[in-house]
């Protein structure tokens, strides 16, 4: 299953890297088209004039605080000094619309960078799953989840879904245990290894085979027993093999 995990993880990580890099084009395109639709729905001519005034004022005065509340306060000040539009609500609505658009764009581009990073992490996870299966599998699963969430937010789900699926399969395959073969099953008498078919063929004498050379065994040399000092003498064949020790009955009889 490690090989299967590696193949799926490798393929999925390459696809994830390609689609994450494609997000550099597709996400800004989606942002521009969606923003244009939102601008067309929410922005009127007065809002355009108000935005123009606020932008020019920001360039002249050079603000450093770009939070939503700070921008609304700034818009109110511009509205009070404006000679074109006297309605403060238009300035506040304008700032709110463009702040939301800007914030959404910023978050989307950060998610593109995160997607590229996690695609690389998934690639590394696929490479290490051969040596460290658990670590590689968890890395691939985590990367697949992050890529999926990022693609959902940036509305580029369809291509990334396939890559995430491959990474998920690879990450799960690592944890599936390898099925055991029937040949390795243990019997009551101990481990039994069924011999292969080649080993089960009966022995057939090969008459054409060259004769096997055997090493000649040297004859046993007779040794002179009398020359052995301190050794146990060999028993006499005519008498008993071993001399029994004299018992009390024997001693009394002898006496």
């Amino acid at each position: 299953m490690k090989r299967l995990a590696f193949v799926f993880g490798y393929a999925g990580s390459i696809l994830a890297l390609i689609f994450a890099l494609f997000m550099i084009y597709t996400v800004p395109f989606n942002i521009v088209t969606d923003n244009i639709e939102d601008i067309k729905d929410d922005v009127e001519n007065e809002n355009v004039l108000a935005f123009n005034e606020v932008a020019l004022a920001m360039i002249e005065e050079g603000t450093s605080d770009y939070s939503e509340q700070a921008l609304e306060v700034f818009a109110q000040q511009v509205a009070q000094n404006s000679r074109i539009i006297n309605d403060e609500d238009i300035y506040e609505d304008t700032v709110e619309i463009f702040y939301d658009l800007g914030w959404q764009s910023l978050v989307s581009m950060v998610l593109v960078a995160i997607s590229i990073l996690f695609a690389l992490i998934a690639f590394i996870g696929a490479l290490i799953c051969r040596k460290a299966p658990a670590g590689g599998g968890i890395t691939m699963l985590a990367a697949a989840l992050v890529l999926l969430l990022a693609s959902i937010y940036t509305r580029t789900l369809i291509p990334m879904l396939f890559a995430s699926l491959l990474l998920t399969i690879g990450g799960i395959a690592v944890f599936i245990p390898k099925p055991q073969k029937k040949e390795n099953m243990q019997y009551a008498g101990g481990p039994y290894y069924q011999p292969s078919l080649n080993q089960q063929q009966p022995y057939e004498q090969n008459l054409n085979a060259p004769p096997v050379k055997t090493q000649s065994v040297p004859a046993v040399q007779k040794t002179d027993v009398s020359s052995l000092k301190g050794s146990v003498p060999f028993p006499n064949e005519e008498t008993q093999v071993f001399d029994k020790p004299d018992t009390k009955d024997d001693k009394s009889k002898n006496e």
């Binding site: 490798y10 390459i14 084009y25 601008i39 067309k40 009127e44 001519n45």
Partner: protein, 203 residues
């Protein structure tokens, strides 16, 4: 397997994929970036007039005289359908020199666009081939190495076709270097084989 060659090929393959996808940006900038910069610097003051002339030529009402939504829709439609001939015609009608420069830039870019798309697609496919060859070279040394070489050569050639060779050259060089390292038989294995051959001859 040569570990150094394997790692170099992995790095080169990932860089090749990165530069292949970015080829659309780098190729466009290297081809038309200087011309676009010169146009803006020479005709910066006339840009408002150019924009208004485009609207007037296509029958779009002036800014803030009509509904803002209609204004956006009409300009988007015009920009999608405009071509170099319309720019030249507008230059003659309104007697603005900027339109002639725009027409030249637009026509050159239109001729270059098919090469850019071809280079992008082939470089991307070649990068994937190189990465697959890197893994195959672990088991099939020569076959995998040949795949890596093919990928490197294709990325180099078609990045030249797309007009953006400099970033891709780095990735191609890494792939070629890694491919060489993976194809060349390790010295230890060579020594072992020659030692086995000499033993067989002596016996």
């Amino acid at each position: 397997m040569n570990k150094a060659g394997y790692i170099i090929n992995l790095v080169g393959g990932v860089l090749a994929i990165l530069f292949s996808v970015l080829l659309l940006i780098t190729g466009s900038i290297l081809f038309a970036g200087k011309d676009a910069y010169d146009f803006v610097s020479d005709n910066g003051e006339d840009l408002d007039e150019v924009w208004a002339s485009i609207g007037d030529y296509n029958g779009i009402n002036e800014f803030l005289t009509d509904d803002f939504e209609d204004y956006i829709d009409e300009y988007m439609q015009v920009l999608q359908e405009i071509d170099a001939d319309e720019f030249e015609d507008m230059g003659k009608v309104y007697n603005i020199g900027a339109f002639d420069e725009l027409a030249d830039i637009y026509s050159d870019f239109e001729e270059y666009l098919p090469n850019l798309w071809l280079g992008f697609l082939v470089c991307l496919i070649a990068s994937v081939i190189a990465l697959v060859g890197t893994e195959l070279a672990r088991k099939y040394r020569v076959g995998g190495g040949v795949m890596v070489f093919c990928g490197a050569a294709l990325t180099l050639i078609f990045s030249l076709v797309a007009g953006s060779i400099i970033p891709m050259a780095a990735a191609s060089i890494l792939l070629i270097l890694g491919g060489v390292l993976q194809i060349v038989e390790p010295k230890a294995k060579q020594k072992l084989e020659t030692a086995n051959e000499s033993e067989e001859v002596s016996s």
